[in-house]
Amino acid sequence: MWDFIQYQILVMKWMEELIGDGLAALGLDISTRIGGSIHFFIYDVTKITILLCVLIFVISYIQSFFPPERSRGIMTRFHGVTANIAGALLGTVTPFCSCSSIPIFMGFTRAGLPLGVTFSFLISSPMVDLGSMVLLSGVFGFKVAAAYVVLGLVIAVAGGTIIEHLHMEDQVAGFIRNGRNTALIETVKPTVRERLAYSAEQVIVTFRKVFPYILAGVAIGAVIHNWIPDSWIENILGGGNPFGVVLATLIGIPMYADIFGTIPVAEALLSKGALLGTILAFMMAVTALSLPSMMMLKKAIKAKLLGTFIAICTAGIIIIGYAFNLLQNYFQ
C-alpha cells in the first residue's frame, strides 16, 4: 500500500514509463546519453510541476488558518521550551514573505515573546515546510521525509533555546524592542470560498516564481544524471570524502534557490553515489540560510547575534548531515 502511494502517486513511475514509450515512439533511443537526458528532463519537470501545483494548493489552504497575527497569539500562551516547540511548529505553517519578517520580529518582541522563541520560529520557517515534506517523500521516501522534518524542528528548537540562554537581547536593534505593544487587528475570518481563491492564487504566484528554478534544477540534474562520472561524485560527496557534509553545507549557504529547484539536483547526485546526509545538508543549507534573508535580518539584529544565528544553523545542518550518513542504511 505505502509502496503503491510512494512509487505510483508521488514518484509517478507510470509517467516515467509513459514518457519513455512516447519518446521511443518518436524514434528517440532513451538508452543513449542524449536520449536519457531528454527523458529525465521531461519526466522530472512534469512530475515536479504536478506535485508543486497540488501541494501549494493544499498547503496554502492550511496556511490560511495561521496568519502571523494569530500565530503570535498562540505562541504567547506557552512558556519555556514548549514555547520554542510551538514557535518551531508554527514557523512551518505561517505564511509570510521576506518583507514581513521585520514587522513580525517587532510584533513578536513587543508582545513579550522571548528572543529564543522568535528565533525558533525564524529558523524553522524557511527550512521545514509542508511542501518540502511531501516533495521529499516523493523523491526519497517517507522515512527520509519524516526524519528531515523532525531534525529540522530539532535544530529550530535547539537553536532558539541556545540563543535564549546566551542572553543577547541587547543585540536586537532598538527600534524593534522599544515601542508600545499594539494589539493586532483581528482581520475578518475568510470564508471557505475565499480560502480556496487564496490557495489558487498562491499556486499561480508560486509557480511563476519557482518555475525557472525547477527548469534550471532539472537541467543540472539531467547533466549530472547522464554526463558526470559516478566516481567524481562518489569521491567528493560520497563515502570517499569524510568532509563531504561540511563541503556541501558551505557551498549551499550562499546559494539561494527554492526547495523545488534543489530537489532534482539532489535526486541526481544521490543516484550517482552521493551520501544521503551530504545531500540533505546541501538542501538545508540552500533553503535555510540565504543572502536575501540575511540582509533583511541584518536590519533587525546586530552582527554578533546574526553571526551566532548563522553559526548555529550551520552547525545544526552539519550534525544532521553526519547523522543521516551514519543511518543511511536504515533509510534505504
Partner: protein, 76 residues
C-alpha cells in the same frame, strides 16, 4: 478618503500599491493613495503580514496582493 498601502518595499508591496492606484482611477473616487513603509507606523496599525491595505482607519486586507478589481469592490 485615504487609502494606505503598508509594506516593506518588496515587489509584492509595490504591486499592491499599483493595484490600489488603478482601483481608485477606475472607480473615479477622490481618494489619496499613501505608501507607508515606516515600520513604526505599520506596528501602530496592528498588522504584521505585508503587504496590507488600509481604507481610512480600517485594515481590509493583510498578507495578500489584491487585484485592482478586488480593491474596487472594497472601496465605498
Amino acid at each position: 478618503m485615504i487609502i494606505r498601502v503598508l509594506g516593506g518595499g518588496c515587489r509584492s508591496c509595490e504591486a499592491l500599491l499599483e493595484a490600489a492606484k488603478e482601483a481608485v482611477k477606475a472607480k473615479g473616487t477622490d481618494a489619496a493613495v499613501e505608501y507607508i513603509t515606516d515600520y513604526e507606523k505599520i506596528m501602530e496599525y496592528g498588522v504584521m503580514s505585508m503587504p496590507a491595505l488600509m481604507i481610512d482607519d480600517r485594515i481590509v486586507s493583510a498578507g495578500r496582493v489584491l487585484k485592482a478589481e478586488e480593491i474596487e469592490k472594497l472601496l465605498p
